[in-house]
Symmetry: C2
Subunit: 300 residues, 2 copies
């Protein structure tokens, strides 16, 4: 299996359009210690380069395709190696890129009833011509092959409805609002992708235990970092994410599971691990984790 | 007035994610004769650099801000020099970037009942918190000041509803579905922006006559170029655009109006003028027109 990190940042990317903290200012200025990151998405291929599966489709997808030769069209007048998309939630940073995958291209989009329903409620997604773009409802616990040679299993990752539906569905647990994904190839190699996770339940642990490659929710380093810095009024957990550090954080809680390699992904622009020279970055790396970065390629 | 071309391409940009024509392949490969273009949008300032107005907000806005220092935040922890957006139609390439202007930032968005209604019908645009983002309905013939020092007048530009509403509203003329914009500063300097125009009516001529700077619909060079090349089944006019060339094309029809400088914008990836060495490019330039390009800055 081939894995490409298309984007490693949380919603808004890094830097974020209206963020003026020291870290964001340095990223706007092109400081190489804080490389820019587009919004979170992975591309997976069984290894043949003909068929690619996207996990989430961020608003930055057009730029990500231009930066990723493997995803560019290479046959006929209109084509794409991108054959399928699996969505783990319905937030803007996970789904808005679908609007850029228009122009009459065959595609299948796989997700829960809740997430696909949230998308279909918007007439603008009608640009995806339903005679050639299939929406595949997979339930919270699905098992399916979105491209030949890759089997995907979904599981419930505790989270919340997207921001724009909080006023309708509340911020508590809603069935199917956030999923985790485990992908296995024909040789048994596997990755897990859990970009939003408010709590590591026994189910989450079981689902990711033993993977060769783990991409886990790295939105914030501490639960209250945005409140403490004045950048926001919400804690990580209020936003549907658990912090990396501290008692009950993801580093501590996931110590007992096995994984070939551990990457944090979906990193918010407030998270000091984005600074390669920070103490937080060193602490994460000392604990055996890496920080995902746009353009990373990993072959399993 | 300061004018920055944020993006000069039509929907899909150049290259387009799934387009494999010779021109698109060369643009993917970075050929300098065919510079890449993001999707069509202008930024205007009365000259003080504190307040910027966007004309349309493309899916590429995050990348456009990163590439445009003038639009980056420079005060407090959260801020933006972008104060207002005027929308000329509701197609994905003109409005989807609004989803990236979230994160609790004050903003006002000005357009017709039709265009704002098309946006509001989508719950996902609820990420623009209506307690701080104002939608201002201006009618087809409005006159207003979206930022201090710039007066905007809108006028009817013949066009069609966005692609995703064609099945609801048909493809004929719909009141307010497409607008043209004329912007005048305190010194009387003026620009016109008409990225979609299926027919140059007497009203369109009157509205743009005498401007210092004209940005006009340059989607296609010939009406049937996509049909002829096999890239599509629709003519320019069927898509709501008039061709540049030929009898009744925009070059001929606009010969009789006055304009300080004429730029084509909203250039489709099928339009051979994107190749700086093409005969079509030379013909357009010989007729007194220029082709807009991402990053161009013009001061009036």
């Amino acid at each position: 299996m081939k894995v490409i990190v298309l984007g490693a940042a949380a919603g808004g990317g890094f830097p974020q359009w209206n963020a003026n903290s020291t870290m964001n200012r340095r990223a706007f200025a092109g400081d190489t210690a804080l490389p820019r990151q587009t919004q979170c998405s992975l591309a997976l291929s069984p290894g043949d380069d003909d068929d690619w599966l996207l996990l989430n489709c961020s608003p930055d997808i057009r730029q990500q395709i231009i930066d990723t030769k493997e995803l560019q069209p290479y046959e006929e007048l209109r084509s794409s190696p991108i054959k399928s998309v699996v969505l783990t939630n319905a937030d803007v940073d996970a789904v808005a890129g679908l609007l850029s995958l228009r122009e009459r291209q065959h595609l299948s989009i796989w997700s829960s009833d809740y997430i696909l329903g949230a998308i279909e409620a918007n007439p603008i997604f009608g640009v995806l011509d339903r005679s050639i773009v299939r929406l595949e409802r997979i339930g919270t616990h699905g098992k399916f092959n979105p491209v030949p040679g890759l089997e995907v299993e979904t599981f419930a990752a505790p989270g919340k409805p997207p921001l724009y539906l909080e006023h309708v569905h509340g911020i508590g647990a809603v069935v199917g609002a956030t999923l985790g994904v485990r992908v296995t190839d024909a040789r048994g190699k596997s990755i897990a992708f859990v970009p939003s996770c408010a709590e590591i339940t026994p189910e989450v642990k079981r689902a990711i235990d033993g993977v060769d490659l783990l991409f886990f929710d790295g939105t914030m380093f501490t639960d209250d970092e945005m409140v403490a810095s004045g950048e926001g009024s919400k804690t990580a957990r209020r936003m549907g994410h658990m912090p990396m550090s501290g008692r009950g954080g993801s580093i501590e809680t996931l110590r007992e599971i096995k994984a070939g390699a551990r990457y944090f992904i979906h990193i918010n622009n407030s998270n000091l691990v984005l600074d390669r020279t920070s103490a937080q970055r060193r602490a994460v790396e000392a604990a055996g984790w890496k920080i995902a970065q746009d353009g990373m390629r990993i072959e399993l």
